[in-house]
Assembly symmetry: C2
Homo-oligomer: 262 residues x 2
Amino acid sequence: MEGNAPVNMPASLPQGLSHEAGRSSLSVNRIQPAYAQVASQLRDLIVTGQIQTGDHLPNESELATIFGVSRSTVREALRSLAAQSLVYTKRGVTGGTFVAELDAETVSAYLRTSLGLMSGSAGVSVAELLETRAALEVPATRLAAIRRTDGAITEMEQNLSISNVEDEAVRYAKNSRFHELILEASGNRLLGLVASPIFDVLKSRFRREDVEKNYWDRVDNDHREIFSHIEAGDPDGAESAMRAHLRRLESTYEATDITAHP
Amino acid sequence: MEGNAPVNMPASLPQGLSHEAGRSSLSVNRIQPAYAQVASQLRDLIVTGQIQTGDHLPNESELATIFGVSRSTVREALRSLAAQSLVYTKRGVTGGTFVAELDAETVSAYLRTSLGLMSGSAGVSVAELLETRAALEVPATRLAAIRRTDGAITEMEQNLSISNVEDEAVRYAKNSRFHELILEASGNRLLGLVASPIFDVLKSRFRREDVEKNYWDRVDNDHREIFSHIEAGDPDGAESAMRAHLRRLESTYEATDITAHP
DNA sequence: CAAATGAAATTCTCAGACATTTACAAATCG
DNA sequence: CGATTTGTAAATGTCTGAGAATTTCATTTG
């Protein structure tokens, strides 16, 4: 039908700015596509809390009517929101589109792929990853020594000895798990949310073939010392042990970075 | 750009009636919708680097043919990828869908809305935000004292005095900018990428009406001290000054958190 | 009472048409 | 000649309308 269908919306669109919007030299795109406008308005409703976790939006046809666009346009908007984990859809008679609950693992996963991409293309260096990891994990270790629980202690102990593990995959998993447990024991979910993707990206840039023979023995010793301080409830000791551990890892990571060995 | 199996994948699709035991109550989700499969396969090509920044994908009709789906299905897949900033589209004769370069600001913006949502719904507490902010900003301050440049010093100085600023918006902007400059001066983009959304979320939970009269005077003093250590190239002094500053802010933030005053 | 059946609501997918945007080449005009 | 206008092609954007598939729930049936 008509060209730019007017993407209705209740009440308040800042239609102003009309004076500045048009004539500048390298013309900014006139207006956004309809699907982007629909997505943007729905996104606002979600992030401002006007519709909340678990609420379900009107079905696609109704949304189309409400916004004055076609159903396909609505669907494209919903795809955008779903890709950002703001909504999810269910089929069937009780189906529809629902406001999603954003959980830590979802955000972590996004960070993991984003940082992975950026670390590939010079957007973020290994040195920056290492520094930031230390910034997060050292305080986390201190907090873990203060807030540790018996459960955390027990599981840490189970992931302590890895140098004698034959299966490399298992060894890696236990190593990761040990660090993860410290982040969990810190009692601060945000620390783990950010640190663990960084940890993963670093791991992916790490050439296992290039580590020295006694590398895992040293890791074992470091972990044991960190653990003993956490177990003893000694924040200062735990902090400095983790700091020393990461400093030692640093040289290994830099020596084994995949970009350094083309 | 070839070799993609159609979405109606070979072999593995339970097309008709693979009536095994499967029908019982806990029905695991069947297969993904076609748009999700298309998105997922394209996403893999991007994150594994098989198609790189700036490359342009085949146009929508070609993609539809390649995957054996309709153009609308392809478009929904592309909307998903675009929402994750993995691709962008341009209209017109030289248009198409291109692999996007993921920049720090995009990831920061995502974190900002995600953490904002989670902080609203008990997924992340103010205490966690404060702890994590300190974890990032204290080391950043130390690094800034080591790596600072003349330009950074100059601009910091310009954002130093804020208690006498009348316009509240300006005062807020200068305050934010000061902390931002420290993150920039740290020379580690990842620190800022993560810290600045956390900072923003905290700000949004902060009731300005509730701060004490001399609050901004104390901020001014703190900033001045931090700055002097950075300028002097004194990492230890800068670090402890920032640590003290954030500790003082902590009580203010907790006293003025919007959830504490319904 | 259990199992099969059917109805209903919703998303999912398709096909095809037309509108819009944009870059660039060609034609036109001063 | 040079600047402006016009036209054309290629791509995305939007609409329409139709079914197909999935899932829940009520109903019927054995």
